[in-house]
């Protein structure tokens, strides 16, 4: 028998979409967790059927504010396959550079959020300051910090000039040094290791049966990366490693994302060095011939899947999108069970769902039927305090690390 049942959400700033959890607690332990999704379903798939391919491109880019290039590229790969368009090699390289810059921006964002959820706010301040470097680069290259609009059917809309490439390399050099420092912190700082180890455990078998993707899968020892398994854009011509880890927990997910940053720098350097000359796009027809295609893309959070069916008109018959968070969210309930309530914020954050800044509420139903309302912020503080009492305290750290 469980003592308390609490709903968490649906207004839930840890996630791109509002989402609700039902938790059954026995004391401080979560005995059962169930997830309800869909609060932010916007009907984009239906809307795509009523718009032209080029309109859909801009709509699809707005599925996610962080992985926007991921979605637009994934959609275009399907459309281009149906239309039989081969994009110029230079365009494939430019798509790859933007994709990796997006991954860097996303992983640095995650690192800050993870730091914040466990009370290590110095890490948040540092990593988000560094993230500005990559956002500024993206703005210089595409005109936007997010939702870059670099893609078009048949290629890309903007070139990367030699001067711009030099700027990118400069930024990457700085970020590589900073990433080296974060890896050192993650490997050596006992407070961080103790706080994240054994939390949010997901076995290799669970990953395989639930179909988890991205860093969540790779941190449980599953070698799964579309960039290698089913190469797209320029990845087939570039040298990089798939990072995996065997910790199976939040600590492992942290190491995987940090080391993936180094691989991204490596990819960008090669892509800029080897960038072929040539045009940026081939001419695409307005009407796409009847056909179907399945497109896969390794977004920062894991595999993004788009299926497009065309009917010979300028509008698609069907567009189906499976974002990585949907594949990973089913693991969260499993990771929460038999764990402490204080671990919930970091466990949810560790799959790297997209974050928004809305407030969220949890309502505690107490034995004598009085209701108490706890804000997410209070739950976060509760988690930090709970660990502080057990000796995991980041506030003692500040000042100990020299840059």
């Amino acid at each position: 028998m469980h003592d308390i049942r609490i709903p968490v959400g649906p207004q839930h700033p840890a996630l791109k979409e509002p989402e609700s959890f039902r938790l059954a607690l026995s004391g401080e332990k979560i005995m059962e967790a169930s997830v309800r999704l869909g609060y932010n379903h916007r009907g984009i798939e239906k809307a795509c059927e009523e718009r032209t391919y080029i309109q859909d491109l801009y709509l699809i880019e707005r599925i996610c504010g962080i992985c926007s290039h991921a979605h637009s590229t994934c959609f275009l790969q399907a459309v281009e396959e149906i239309a039989g368009l081969e994009i110029p090699r230079r365009a494939a390289y430019i798509r790859t550079v933007i994709a990796e810059l997006e991954r860097i921006h996303s992983h640095l964002l995650w690192l800050g959020v993870a730091g914040h959820e466990v009370g290590f706010d110095t890490l948040l301040m540092y990593s988000w300051k560094d993230r500005e470097i990559v956002l500024d680069l993206l703005a210089q290259m595409t005109g936007n910090r997010v939702n870059y609009g670099i893609n078009t059917i048949g290629g890309v809309r903007r070139d990367i000039t030699a001067a711009l490439a030099k700027e990118v390399i400069k930024g990457i050099d700085t970020l590589e040094k900073r990433t080296g420092y974060y890896i050192e912190v993650a490997r050596q700082e006992p407070t961080l290791i103790n706080r994240l180890s054994g939390v949010g455990v997901l076995s290799r078998q669970d990953v395989l049966s639930l179909g988890a993707v991205g860093p969540t899968a790779r941190a449980s020892g599953v070698v799964r990366d579309v960039r290698k398994d089913d190469p797209y854009a320029a990845y087939g011509e570039l040298d990089f490693d798939v990072i995996t880890d065997k910790h199976n927990d939040v600590y492992g997910r942290t190491l995987v994302r940090l080391k993936e940053l180094l691989e991204s720098y490596k990819i960008i350097r090669q892509a800029l060095d080897d960038m072929p000359q040539g045009q940026l796009a081939v001419k695409a027809p307005r009407k796409i011939p009847a056909g179907e295609a399945l497109s896969r893309y390794e977004a920062p959070r894991g595999e993004d899947v788009h299926y497009v069916k065309s009917n010979g008109t300028d509008k698609p018959e069907r567009v189906k999108v499976r974002a990585p968070t949907l594949a990973n969210i089913q693991t969260v309930a499993l990771m929460l069970e038999d764990r402490y309530l204080a671990d919930m914020p970091i466990v949810v954050a560790a799959i790297d769902p997209c974050f928004s800044c809305t407030d969220r509420l949890i309502s505690l139903k107490q034995e004598h039927r009085r209701r108490r309302v706890t804000r997410w912020e209070e739950l976060r503080v509760y988690g930090i305090e709970w660990y502080r009492r057990r000796g995991v305290d980041f506030s003692r750290l500040n000042g100990n690390f020299k840059l």
Binding site: S34, V35, R36, L37, G38, Y39, H41, G43, E45, K46, E81, L208, S209, L210, G211, A212, V223, R224, V226, K228, D229, D230, P231, E292, A293, L294, R296, E303, V305, Y307, K309, E317, R318, K320, R322, L326, A327, I329, Q330
Partner: protein, 159 residues
């Protein structure tokens, strides 16, 4: 013989009904139209014998009188097998694939909500992705559905 061709041969040897229904669209992409009677066996064969251990997602299609479902399966080497099945809209529906892919639950709930699919064996649970008070019989991804029809229905109810 390429790996993709070996997979096609394997499927054909086991299921004669697939003759002429397997299409190799490009490297790493196989599409197959599977007759209803063979579907569960084909899915089991693909996942257990041909090592398609990942279900990427399930796409639902409104095909007029029928509902189509494409099961996008993938292997570690990046080959995807897209198994398609069509059933009558007013027929008995399809069987759940959660015994083979536990992660399929959320994808199947999506088919139930958005296309009105009937999925036998799908366990009770919270719906996805439509709201709890969404009117019954309104399936947004059906081709004859639009927001106007929904608004009219709501207006009639209120009047």
């Amino acid at each position: 013989m390429s790996e993709e061709e070996r997979i096609r041969e394997g499927l054909l040897k086991r299921f004669s009904s697939l003759e002429g229904k397997i299409r190799l669209q490009r490297a790493k992409r196989l599409f197959a139209d599977v007759p209803c009677d063979d579907f569960t066996a084909a899915l089991e064969y693909a996942s257990r014998e041909l090592r398609f251990q990942m279900l990427l997602t399930i796409t639902g299609l409104d095909e007029g009188e029928n509902l189509g479902f494409i099961y996008h399966l993938a292997r570690e080497d990046g080959i995807t097998l897209n198994l398609k099945i069509s059933v009558k809209k007013d027929g008995p529906g399809i069987r759940t694939v959660t015994p083979y892919f536990p992660g399929a639950e959320i994808y199947e709930r999506e088919l139930v909500d958005l296309l009105g699919a009937r999925i036998e064996g799908l366990k009770e649970g919270r719906r996805y992705p439509l709201p709890d008070d969404w009117p019954e019989g309104q399936y947004p991804l059906r081709k004859d559905w639009n927001t106007k029809a929904l608004k009219d229905k709501e207006a009639n109810k209120n009047a």
